[in-house]
Symmetry: C2
Subunit: 513 residues, 2 copies
Amino acid sequence: MTGAEFDSRAGYRMQRRENFDDRMVSGSSASGEPKPRHPAPSPQALHRLDKLLGSGQVLIPGRDEMTRYETDVLGRRHPACWVARPRDVDDVRSVVRWAYAERAELVVQGANTGPVLAGVPRRGGHQGVVSMELCRSTIDVDVVNRTVTVSAGVDLETLNEVLGRDSLTFPIDLGANPSVGGMVGANTGGARLIRHGDVRRHVLGLEVVLPDEHATVLSLLSGLRKDNRGPDLKQLFIASSGTLGIVTAAVFGVDPVPLQVAVALVAATDGEDVLRLLTFLEARATERLSAFEMLSRPTLEAIARHRPDRMPLPLAQGRRLPELLVLVELNDSDIATGGHQGLDEELAAILDHGSAEGWVDDAWFGPPATLWALRNAAIDALRQEGPMVAFDLSAPRSRLFEVRERVMTLVGQIAPHARYADFGHVGDGGLHSIVIWPDDMEAGRRDKERDQLRTAVYELVTAAGGTFSAEHGVGPENESAFRRHTPPEVRGLHAGLKSLFDPQGILGATDLS
Amino acid sequence: MTGAEFDSRAGYRMQRRENFDDRMVSGSSASGEPKPRHPAPSPQALHRLDKLLGSGQVLIPGRDEMTRYETDVLGRRHPACWVARPRDVDDVRSVVRWAYAERAELVVQGANTGPVLAGVPRRGGHQGVVSMELCRSTIDVDVVNRTVTVSAGVDLETLNEVLGRDSLTFPIDLGANPSVGGMVGANTGGARLIRHGDVRRHVLGLEVVLPDEHATVLSLLSGLRKDNRGPDLKQLFIASSGTLGIVTAAVFGVDPVPLQVAVALVAATDGEDVLRLLTFLEARATERLSAFEMLSRPTLEAIARHRPDRMPLPLAQGRRLPELLVLVELNDSDIATGGHQGLDEELAAILDHGSAEGWVDDAWFGPPATLWALRNAAIDALRQEGPMVAFDLSAPRSRLFEVRERVMTLVGQIAPHARYADFGHVGDGGLHSIVIWPDDMEAGRRDKERDQLRTAVYELVTAAGGTFSAEHGVGPENESAFRRHTPPEVRGLHAGLKSLFDPQGILGATDLS
């Protein structure tokens, strides 16, 4: 979507600088900006808000502390006309009742780590921010039920620190450190999705404040794995970009911490061999397969140029880099009770088989941290190659390499002076396709090529049964793509849901109608 | 819920006889029956329907073939005023457009294996049946993507037969043989949920015909594991008991067939020990733990009395039966590539540890088929003990045995002459609590006790964070419990969703508003 690549482990926090693509997106976003649904609240209304919550919980323009609530992870600043920092559900309800009465638009913000502008105000300065950062009272672990009840403002690292005391983990593996509410709103995936699934798989319960007259609290905080009492309303708030309700707490099913891990890098010649490796691994290692990440040769070359320290020795010793390199990880419980020989042996046996069959060219084992360091160097290394655009694609795995070929062809046709590189969570059908222009290319031409390329790539991937937003969710950043590639009957239902849950249209930065 | 216990593997088809509870339910259902939303269609309207589809695809009253569409798996017959058997999506749309124009109410029926009356007409004879049994054109396996696109009328056994050719499986493990559409409508669970999850976890895509003027087709047939383009509409049709749209096809993520299995029976003294065994197994065997089923002593005694052939030798040799017996199963891929020693050894090591720690009293290994035969004899054996009512409960696992104790106390208070027995998918927090009255007890008193018990048990389990419908879904059978135990704000949203998707209220036997 943008230069903002939600890279596993590398994270955003090291990438807070203006870049080529951010500038482009800001430009295009400004031109297509719809009118506000409601004007900014009056000074009198803001005064009433200020009196509702305790001291210091409401900020209004002119105060420096507002900046961080207005600025997204990529440094893009969208002014807010107010910021409220509720401490609990009652505070959230007070703010919502006020907003409903005043018809004041609001955007819920968690840890503000998302790349699609869904957590900062829309341009125009008419929206306020409800920051959930103070809603952190509860992290209640139920070891026997393997669940945790957690406030929306708690961040992933804190949650996992507490769970770790009971050898449990919320297995969403990211470089960023989002809040619970933000992960629900984006249905976060991450690098271990192939084993552990997305956030949706773990949500057993939600508590949500609705943006209606009464600020109704939907208490759907079940910790049940089997519960079939009609359609499951909580599903609607997952991946809804904070447009239907304000998540204030969640019950997550959590997993035992894996205590063994084996990682290898595998060189392959082409997509067909990569997919053979994948299907064989899944059949033999089943759920132990915990990551399957691919890097292509142009990406490896960029890492070799800009981050040679991240190149593991076997790849650094002057030999030609492989066309495709796959990082494979298996994980499992420990072996204290016997039962298993080591995972390294299991992985070695699988790769030996692949080697004998001809679909593994070469393979290297190494310390997990070293091999992941290579994978996680990808986005930063590519950024240093020149002005770029990064796509967040996914497709059925059986069509992924066909999509990849066709994207490469398009790049050759539309942007003949640009280079193509890619990497991604191939095990989940994910691919981050990166297009890099020469530094000295005239900006106007670059912009034109980029716009053409976007339109063509989105068309192509959608036609192949794929998606233009695999992991990042929908926000103002990509809502025009949402409109173009979502059939009208589906958009009509989204609009109907929006009216049902948010009758005055006061909630969220994203317009999904 | 009813005498209808959706027992893993035992299935319904062997249980098609009137029983105590069925008679009771029919009685209570008739008395609380709401008025039809719309009257039955006129003869002229039925004539128009008949002309819409090809010959033999529409049945009207008077034809013997109608009976099976009107009769549920427990033999309860609710007359239909028409039956349509569409062959494909176009036929489904024709029927829906007709129904919308005529305001004719309709119930979608799959393989008709559900126990809550959601797939047969409501009482009153004003509803028609749309049987999906002829919609079976597609079973399209994508081995590399590990997905299958399948028509709604295909049954589970056929689906797994086709998947098995590629060593894949749709891992919903039931005694019954439901259709794809029925499994989506009920969000079926089954005996392997602890490892493989429910139907929802596997639904990657749906195609749905909406009951609106145009019989709109929602084509959400994605096969993507990562796709975050806004709220996920298809979730609404899962577990909706066929009230929001007609599912015509699904894309399921599927799993490799497990090729190793180890099963043991474990004797435990009390709930605390059972839960220690469960948490230890989950930590050590992780996803290899594929079943954790409990039977209590009264259940074992009933099996010993009525199905002594199902008692494995160690339990049959005259010793006192354990208070609680757990069937534990591990499964895994094969070991052709090395990597693992046998699962039997792994399970034995875990049970040895439990024995040393004092929370495993005794354990026996045996052929999986033999040990499962014991588990699957439970419901039939208990039925032979006398008139009964069976509850389909689940609770957070940490509170399950507390709930169990309190249900037993209630039975002692409310029905002092009745006996209590139970069994269930304890690994998922599920428990089937069975109450059996003496054969010679006066029916009126029995009925009164049963009604009191139902009210009290539903209150109790709901207050403890549990559910009155763990696996069976909601239908006319239990919609009064739904109304009583669903907060008004949640029911209000259900009603809003119903209006959005089904503006004339023509679809489904179940009233969730």
